[in-house]
């Protein structure tokens, strides 16, 4: 690549948001992933956000069949996939129509003009061709006959049918974007060589089209400028790009190794949680047992069985599945066995918006069971810290002998970010409570004085034969008990056990101002959006705004109340109707809270947050 020439043209920006959109069969997810992986290897910080339809192959060209992938790359710290787009690559009219709103005026749109046929325009509900009618005059539109050029490039390669040829046009688009941002195609070519090892003509075709797109962008003067994004300043170390769901799966792998237990996953496929099952199913070499059960209930029931028998046992699901698992979570809580339930939240209620993000399962996680049944609830906040919180969920479950619900969401689960790789050796120890022999006067419900956790007596251990069950049990022997005072005692001690977890979790801290006029409060997957908005406020000179982000929901950190009281106003920002705000109100009823809620299946945008914060600071 002619870097010297490029540098002359380069307009150095801190960060750029690029969105690839097309039909769900156009390969936009692959295109976006390749671009973000390549950029990360170049040293950029990145954040990505795939946005795809619930239908696997929606009718071609339709508005609801549009699949998109957004990537935010930068030479500075990037904490969200961005809300306004600098470059939109639209492979068809439907993609243009549904995504134009996000493009910054004056910025660039690349379109495949071959797809702007009368039929496709009709399907996208365009009355006239936007490429001709002047409606895009505020944007820099780059029209490319991508399909035609792709076909031309591949005319000499044998053994390719028409479908395989047109399928590679996404690589033409990727090649153009690589050139614009001064990226090498080498990583992507390597990817073809691995993925299509047995199909040399497919490797050749994709490589050819990728390079053709790249050369096309280089030589055509249609492209008005090019940008280079220099590497971000990140802490030294070994990095990789990781998706939230992969990070969750790996956190469990690390926890199993550290605790010396075998990992068992009982699960039933559900969007957007299935990738955790897929990932763990690959790792039989670590002795991981994945059990795809007949339904959500069997998923958690098998998990309870595996935990009873001494595995680190987890189950993964999303909102509707958590509803089905409620009774079984109650059983695990009652018999005080360690399990982890991962809920990758999606838009609800009911089937809701399976492929969109939301934080509306918080109350369900806390209270969605019969009876008084407290469990630990924690939430990850970035794609890469899904690793840490999956590990932490396992540690808390094993050390406190309780179910732990780990909340992530579609946004961080499918998003990817650089991860400074953590070695399992450096992770904190996990002390499981398995006992290997009976001590004198041993009872299954004997408790640790500090944590109130019982011991874990697993089948196969002589002398510890015992029965557990969902019926209320005697406080000492564990035998069935209907004694009124015993039930009250047991209800309270199960609650106290969870409350005492406060002594084993970090205190909540603020970022930016530690006291002042406005505290922004968030929890879970909104960290990137909220952090970035408060950071911008701070850079604009608003120095009395602080930010507190909660990863521990039940129990809350010990100092929560003290921290909240350091600010005049508190705004709780959530992608739901105000569930965390209501939880805080219930716990601290003399603190006034303002809510900022968004329930659109989308993450917060930077602009809307800053507008709200500025209004509150007036």
């Amino acid at each position: 690549m002619a870097n010297s020439k490029l540098n002359n043209l380069a307009e150095v920006l801190e960060s750029v948001v690029i969105r690839f959109v097309g039909d769900s069969g156009d390969g936009m997810q692959l295109t976006g992933t390749q671009f973000s992986d390549t950029s990360a290897m170049f040293g950029n910080d990145i954040a990505t956000f795939p946005n795809y339809p619930a239908e696997i192959r929606a009718p071609q060209g339709s508005l609801y069949g549009v699949s998109g992938f957004q990537v935010h790359i930068g030479s500075v710290e990037i904490s969200t996939p961005g809300d306004e787009v600098d470059l939109l690559v639209a492979m068809n009219p439907a993609g243009l129509k549904t995504n134009l709103y996000a493009v910054k005026p004056g910025h660039t749109i690349i379109v495949d003009t071959d797809s702007f046929t009368k039929k496709n325009l009709e399907k996208a509900h365009y009355e006239s061709n936007p490429l001709d009618d002047g409606s895009l005059s505020n944007y820099r539109v780059i029209e490319v006959e991508m399909t035609t050029l792709t076909k031309e490039a591949l005319k000499d390669i044998e053994g390719l049918d028409n479908k395989s040829i047109t399928r590679t046009k996404n690589m033409f688009a990727l090649g153009m974007v690589y050139w614009m941002y001064d990226r090498s195609p080498a990583h992507t070519i390597e990817f073809f060589e691995k993925k299509f090892a047995s199909k040399p003509n497919i490797i050749e075709a994709n490589t050819k089209v990728l390079n053709t797109g790249l050369y096309y962008a280089e030589t055509l003067e249609l492209i008005p400028n090019a940008y280079t994004i220099s590497p971000a300043k990140m802490n030294p170390g070994t990095y990789r790009i990781i998706m939230g769901n992969t990070a969750t799966a790996w956190g469990f792998l690390a926890a199993a190794e550290k605790s010396g237990l075998e990992l068992f996953l009982g699960s039933y496929p559900i969007t957007p949680a299935s990738d955790i099952l897929h990932e763990l199913a690959k790792h039989k070499h670590f002795g991981v047992k994945t059990f795809q059960a007949e339904d959500e209930i069997a998923g958690i029931a098998s998990t309870i069985g595996a935990s009873f028998a001494g595995d680190l046992a987890i189950t993964t699901t999303s909102g509707p599945g958590l509803a089905l698992k409620g009774e079984a979570i109650g059983l695990a809580m009652m018999i005080e066995l360690p399990i982890v339930i991962v809920n990758v939240q999606r838009g609800g209620p009911s089937t809701g918006l399976p492929t969109k993000t939301e934080q509306s399962d918080l109350m369900q996680a806390l209270y969605g069971r019969n009876g008084e049944s407290p469990v630990i609830v924690i939430a990850a906040s970035t794609p890469s810290n899904c690793f840490n919180y999956a590990y932490e969920a396992s540690k808390l479950a094993l050390e406190h002998m309780t179910p732990v619900i780990l909340l992530t969401d579609g946004y961080i689960a499918n998003g990817s970010a650089p991860w400074k790789i953590l070695s399992t050796e450096d992770m904190p120890p996990i002390n499981n409570r398995i006992i290997s022999k009976a001590t004198e006067n041993w009872h299954p419900y004997d408790r640790d004085d500090a944590t109130l956790a019982r011991n874990w007596a697993i089948p196969g251990t002589a002398g510890l034969e015992h029965r557990v069950g969902g019926l209320e049990k005697d406080r000492v022997s564990g035998n069935v008990s209907y004694v009124p005072e015993n039930h009250e005692y047991m209800t309270k001690i199960r609650a106290e056990k969870i409350k005492r977890v406060q002594d084993y979790i970090p205190e909540i801290t603020t970022e930016f101002a530690t006291s002042g006029d406005l505290l922004v409060v968030g929890w879970g997957g909104t960290y990137g959006s909220l952090h970035s908005a408060v950071k911008h406020m701070n850079e604009e000179g608003y120095d009395s705004i602080g930010y507190a982000h909660f990863n521990y929901i039940n129990p809350l950190p010990k100092n929560t109340e003290t921290l909240l009281k350091q600010f005049k106003k508190i705004v709780v920002c959530e992608l739901n109707g105000g569930q965390f705000a209501n939880l805080l109100r219930m716990k601290f009823n003399d603190i006034e809270l303002i809510q900022f809620n968004k329930i659109q299946g989308l993450p917060f945008g930077n602009a809307e947050l800053m507008e709200k914060f500025k209004q509150l600071l007036k």
Partner: protein, 337 residues
Amino acid sequence: METTAEKKYSYKDFESDQEVRWCPGCDDYVILRSVQKALPEMGIDRKDVVFISGIGCSSRFPYYMNTYGMHSIHGRAPAIASGVKLANNDLSVWVITGDGDSMAIGGNHFIHVLRRNIDLNIILFNNKIYGLTKGQFSPTSLVGQKTKSSPYGNTQPPFSAGELAIGAQARFFARIGGNTPKEMTEIFIDAEKFKGTSLIEVMQNCPIFNDGAYSQFTDKAVRADKQLYVEHGKPMIFGTDRNKGLILNKLKLEVATIGENGVTEADILVHDATESDPTLHQMLVRMQDPIVTGIIRMYKDITFEQRENESMEQVKAKSSFHKTDDLFFSGDTYEVH
């Protein structure tokens, strides 16, 4: 029965300190004692025995066994037991369930556990009624049966546990009367020896809500003529005079009398429990006069956990990942300086 190993236990070693609270006269007592008598014959350590139950009268069972046990939630015992067995293949895992627990609320787990063929032993207490909730019809109650929730007669046709199970690919299915403890004990021992999911349906009398549901087959006075107790490799002969047996007439099983119409003992079908084709087993399950008891099907097949373990060993042998760090630091990583 193994005779080489010295018996470590008597049935008393499997009694827990809990008082048994079933209604007087319930067949559940017979089943409990038969299990406690069968266990010492199996050559397994008490520490390795796990009983998992669902909800219902029968599901109190684990509390009465001095082994590991879990009284779980309604219908889910097969799924919980599957988790136990997959976590530790060395355990002897038993599921205790009833007709409502297994075929109504837990129907899905029941068919899938049989399909997978995990090495579990399932004892199905079929009393054709809901006992713990006090007398509603169950999925095995008869059409027309008057119960608390069907005062004018049940309008839902029943499942046959055996038909359902074999349809769901059960490799081991046995049926036994709740008042024949000797045969029951032997079946439990065979079920434990069998590698794969074993289902034993006990025709269990509920003296309170459905008394006499099986008396036309199980009463001592009629048993010999109304029950055909089958044994693998033996001709299917029954009757007070041991002169009746099963023959195949075209596509139907029929009862023939030895010595009549030229029928000799050689004409009587010999029971083959190990046949993979379940057609004849289904026909035996469906017979009503006589009703067939004993081990009807015992087809040896690879178990789920054998498949899983083989696959895991193959993956491990080929993999270069030994520790999680090998994975975390593999592939597309990059250095930031």
